[in-house]
């Protein structure tokens, strides 16, 4: 086989199509937009979100516009669900439908407030610990270690026995150990972000510590913080109903799902609806928050990027 000599005439200029090579295959999507897109493809999470929105709206508006008040004793005792009383009435003749939504206000308020307090303390504690490093970090984390070793629910019970049951003692009791988890997660995030090159670059350019925290640390740790917070709320609601069940909840005549379930349980043989309705709403709310939290975690995970 003879080889042809290669000469210049064999080559020609095709003409570079600069626009085609530089064209982006897809529109550039910002991080949060992508998170939103991924979240909206998750059926379970969307279902949870819609359920939550409905529950929150009902909790706001039903007690406002209902013909009964949650503490009204209507003289009809233990009535089964009917056209007048959609969910029936309890042993004092109070309308369970209104009490469910008044209870939703209390349960949601406790859950969200506890989560916000956890967030504030946890973020402060975790970021100070992670940023300071060295001995300060060591001491702060050892304190957290000892506190995690203390069984959570027992502390809460003892505290509520002493503080006397009520809305604010409940929130204090819930957040007294709740922040540790958040602090751990924030510290972990801060430690991993702190050593990235772009932070070093910002520092060499003379950025102040506050600038670093506000512009770099918080935006990057936001995802993990958001997920932890959404998952804290259902566990706070669960603990609240658990404690109400023990008789340490918000005192009468206020309604909370836990107290309603506890009362309903005593009368279950004759009036099952008094347990079933609070039971449905506690479970539905816990489920919805968990679904949204799981959905957020999956949506924020860059490893799942398509």
């Amino acid at each position: 086989m003879t080889q042809q000599p290669i000469n210049k005439e064999m080559f020609k200029i095709v003409g570079g199509n600069h626009d085609a090579t530089e064209k982006l295959a897809d529109k550039s999507v910002s991080f949060w937009k992508e998170v939103f897109l991924r979240f909206s493809h998750n059926k379970m999470a969307i279902f949870g979100l819609i359920t939550l929105i409905i529950i929150i709206l009902m909790a706001i508006f039903v007690p406002m516009f209902s013909q009964y008040k949650y503490s009204d004793q209507l003289g009809v005792f233990n009535s089964p669900p009917s056209a007048d009383f959609w969910f029936g009435t309890d042993d004092l003749g109070r309308d369970i439908f209104v009490r469910i939504w008044a209870g939703a206000r209390i349960s949601l308020f406790i859950g969200i407030t506890a989560a916000v307090i956890d967030l504030v303390i946890g973020v402060l504690w975790g970021s100070i610990s992670g940023l300071a490093g060295g001995r300060v970090d060591n001491i702060m984390m050892r304190i957290a270690d000892v506190l995690t070793a203390v069984p959570y629910l027992l502390v809460v019970i003892v505290l509520l026995v002493v503080l006397q049951p009520g809305l604010f003692p409940m929130i204090i009791a819930l957040s007294i150990t709740g922040w540790i988890n958040m602090a751990r997660i924030v510290r972990g995030e801060v430690l991993s972000i702190k050593n990235q090159e772009y932070v070093l670059a910002a520092r060499t350019l003379g950025a102040s510590t506050w600038h670093l925290i506000l512009k770099h640390l918080i935006p990057n740790a936001l995802g993990a913080i958001l997920v932890t917070m959404t998952l804290t709320i259902p566990s706070a609601i669960f603990t609240e109903s658990f404690l109400s069940y023990l008789g340490l909840g918000v005192p009468a005549p206020h309604a909370s799902w836990g107290t309603m379930a506890s009362d309903g349980n005593k009368a279950i043989a004759s009036y099952p609806w008094r347990l079933i309705f609070p039971a449905i709403f506690i479970s539905l709310t816990i489920f919805a928050f968990n679904a949204v939290g799981d959905g957020l975690r999956d949506a924020l995970d860059p490893k799942l990027r398509k």
Binding site: Y152, V158, A269
Partner: protein, 309 residues
């Protein structure tokens, strides 16, 4: 290893000290004297009572006495029921709670792993959806609600199980299931995801390629590795079973320690609350330690050194 255990023991002691101190001062802050409900005391008797319980001493002497008592496992006498000590109460009722708790843990781990394995093997087919729904239901429905509903439907309406009491194995099925259910869901979720992870690994593909049966691969290979996350969950599981027993024992009228604890809360029986809290704390702290040590035996990749993280 020994260094690690010693270090953990030190943490446990510190945590216990925090608990004991906190309960002591909290109980002192609590409004009202323990004898407030019995009003018509002549002052001499009240004086005498305060003397027997050492309530006249300054707080640091009381605190010291309390520390010594606790260190020697003497949790004090009930202030409500005369001549009944917390120790008697624990001796009497703890075996009941222990039986129930072990049953619940076996149920949770056994069925949880089974459900997880089935849903991983039939990934995205109907057994998977069924198992996942059970798991989601278990995580969403609190144990005390489940207990009430099961008591109503399975015991009261259907009559398959005794409604309440503690007279044999049949009596323990529903309560154990109520405590175990939510943990079962969680364990199923854990097992499923780690099984799926293992199923993608080369050694499983190799085993399948050699023609080994599906279930043999599961038991000989996959499950052994997939179970590691489940072992880490044993610590929280113990805590969950203990706290779950508080309410479930009350609902099913089981004479266990959880029932006494809840009763002492309702009665504001401070010495019993303090004693039981400390007792529970000891059990939980050691359960977590044992699980951590167990973990290092099961997974040789984990070396227990002095340092955490």
């Amino acid at each position: 290893m020994i260094k690690y255990i010693l270090k953990r023991l030190m943490y446990i002691l510190l945590a216990l000290f925090v608990i004991v101190t906190a309960t002591f001062f909290l109980m002192r802050l609590a409004p009202g004297s323990p004898f407030a409900s019995e009003r018509n005391f002549p002052p001499q008797i009240e004086e005498k009572l305060n003397e027997t319980y050492g309530l006249n001493n300054p707080w640091y002497i009381q605190y010291k006495d309390y520390l010594i008592d606790t260190a020697s496992f003497n949790f004090g006498e009930s202030m409500k029921y005369k001549a009944r000590s917390t120790n008697d109460m624990i001796n009497e009722s703890f075996p009941v709670s222990l039986t129930l708790g072990i049953e619940a843990m076996l149920l949770a781990v056994g069925f949880g792993v089974l459900i997880g394995v089935v849903s991983a093997l039939y990934h995205n087919k109907w057994p998977d959806y069924l198992a996942t729904s059970i798991a989601v239901l278990g995580i969403s429905v609190p144990s005390f609600i489940l207990a009430g509903l099961m008591q109503y439907f399975l015991a009261y309406k259907a009559g398959w199980f005794p409604v309440s009491g503690w007279k044999g194995f049949g009596y323990s099925v529903l309560p154990a299931l109520a405590i175990a259910f939510s943990h079962m869901g969680f364990i199923a979720k854990l097992t499923r995801s780690s099984m799926l992870e293992q199923n993608n690994s080369d050694y499983v593909k190799m085993a399948r390629a050699k023609g080994i049966g599906k279930w043999t691969v599961v038991f000989r290979h996959t499950l052994r590795n997939a179970l590691l996350p489940v072992v880490t969950y044993l610590g929280p599981l113990t805590a969950g079973v203990v706290t779950g027993s508080f309410i479930v024992e009350n609902i099913f009228a089981i004479p266990g320690l959880g029932k006494h604890f809840v009763q002492s809360i309702t009665n504001r029986d401070y010495t019993v609350i303090m004693g039981t809290t400390v007792f529970y704390s000891i059990i939980l702290l050691f359960a977590v330690l044992i699980v951590d040590i167990l973990y290092s035996f099961i997974d040789p990749r984990i070396k227990l050194k002095g340092a955490k993280n």
